[in-house]
Subunit: 313 residues, 2 copies
């Protein structure tokens, strides 16, 4: 199937006319009497979505449930929501597939590792936002990644999410056939986040392409997995070709964020810290303390961005 | 790249000569001085792997960390290991990426959702088993799935894991090029597990093909995701074609289990319960109590199998 199938065309038409609301490019959706968001353990028949989530404007997502729990406490402290001793309950406590926390206009959700895992979460999240009648929502992924040619601890704001051949597209298999979707991200939002990194001036922040892979070991040219069939020279040639194609970092979820936000008219962004420089090695050898400080950097940048946006209103 | 690349050929040669040990088809592996299993928060420089894991014979893996914790308590009770009040600590407590528990010869590990997530876990698990000098190890995935033409609650023992076009192969992207790997599973092990289901005689157990997809919504022909571009007729035509190709159920991890076990000389199996019949609908509407009982079925079958195997020695 060529790029620009029915879902893609419907999305483009809707986006221009009604930019701020959540578009669901699914003709069957409105016919559903009840919607069970199975992996969140939430449902329209059992939960009042507009009351619970209607004020959400910023959805921050990341792999680890514990990191997303820590993030909501940091958000609450910085936005002065609730008392410092407040505990934010896990809204999805009835399942351990994903964790979800809320503080004011900010929703913090974990997505696990890899595109299939984050895709399930995003399908159910986007339906949740639609059921809740949310508008002007931004989704930002805060993650970790392997850097290419950057000092570890650098923060990369993604300009384009590219695949393993450095193309800005995502292959989606539908009814056994491949559809190629655009992984276009909102340029202005990326610029705004980059500007926040500069103003914050606490760590190296760059804008660039992010390669999104289906595998951490062989898919990212590592030599230290249980299976490896290429030489160090072949690995370095591949990573240098990625570098030349403008790839600043490698992770495993950005293409889904880009493709699904694009199709549903949501502004999306990806902000990842690099835990190592892949031109220097494969193993993540920094101490837990150093890694924890690195992991806090996308959080700092994104909270700075949220505060700035809220002040403008 | 054609099927049967260097890793595939090396695996075949090794398997015939030394069937019971863990083969690592990676020429760089033996040169590593230290190995940090980052996503387990374990390492050869900090942990005595043979002392911790040397006696492991059965590795049981499943998506949910809570389910795998409950499983180890059930194993311990059934194999009469430790006192009933014993708590089994999470061996990977320093991270929340994966959870790992051990009781005697049984290791229970969570793998999250989807092939990229389980692949990371299996790379690190297989290296762990090799470092621990384990032999005669069996890896069994215990999971949930959507059934095709089966009453909900049926347990499917996978004969072949097939892709979205019903072929028994896995596309693995390496250095930007596609390699197609065999998803052959151990036939005798599948038969033995099927026999256990018959002897146990507590629920419907069948042997058949399992379709493994990269996506839960569009990838499995659901109409209830945030994005859908096909009609109900197209969906039903696809699911019926899968049914005719011998597909009994659909999940998101079996192909990686099959391919990686095959390449490393480990006997692998996949045992999943079906939560719904996809020819009847898309949403999982059973009560939490019914779903919990369904989810216990693969556990019952696999523990019965482990007890039977241990009695034979």
């Amino acid at each position: 199937m060529a790029p620009g199938g029915p879902a893609e065309k419907a999305a483009e038409g809707k986006q221009s006319s009604k930019e701020s609301s959540i578009h669901i490019p699914n003709p069957h959706f409105e016919k559903m009497k009840e919607d069970i968001l199975y992996h969140f353990a939430l449902g329209t028949g059992t939960h009042d979505f507009p009351a619970l989530f209607g004020d959400v404007k910023f959805v921050c997502i990341g792999g680890s449930p514990l990191r997303m729990k820590a993030f909501i406490s940091y958000v609450a402290e910085q936005l002065e929501i609730g008392s410092p001793s407040n505990d934010f309950p896990n809204i999805c406590a009835a399942t351990d597939r994903y964790a979800m926390y809320k503080a004011g206009p900010v929703l913090s959700v974990s997505h696990g590792i890899g595109m299939p895992s984050i895709a399930i979460m995003l399908h159910e999240l986007i339906k949740l936002l639609h059921h809740s009648k949310c508008s002007d929502v931004i989704i930002i992924r805060l993650g970790t990644s392997g850097g290419i040619g950057l000092e570890p601890g650098s923060v990369v704001v993604t300009r384009q999410s590219v695949n393993a051949t450095f193309k800005p597209q995502l292959e989606q298999v539908i009814l056994g056939k491949s559809v190629f979707r655009s992984t276009h991200l909102d340029e202005k939002l990326a610029e705004e986040l980059m500007e926040c990194g500069k103003e914050l001036d606490q760590f190296n922040t760059v804008v660039g392409n992010t390669m999104c892979t289906l595998d951490f070991y062989e898919g990212q040219a590592r030599l230290d997995g249980a299976i490896c069939s290429y030489s160090n020279e072949e690995k370095m040639k591949y990573l240098k070709a990625a570098h030349e194609a403008g790839v600043k970092n490698i992770e495993m979820e950005s293409s889904i964020v880009a493709a699904m936000c694009h199709l549903t008219g949501i502004k999306g962004a990806v902000v990842c810290v690099t835990l190592l420089n892949r031109l220097q090695g494969d193993q993540i050898t920094s101490s837990p303390e150093v890694l924890a400080e690195f992991e806090s950097r996308p959080q700092k940048l994104v909270v700075y961005f949220i505060k700035k946006r809220l002040k403008k209103k």
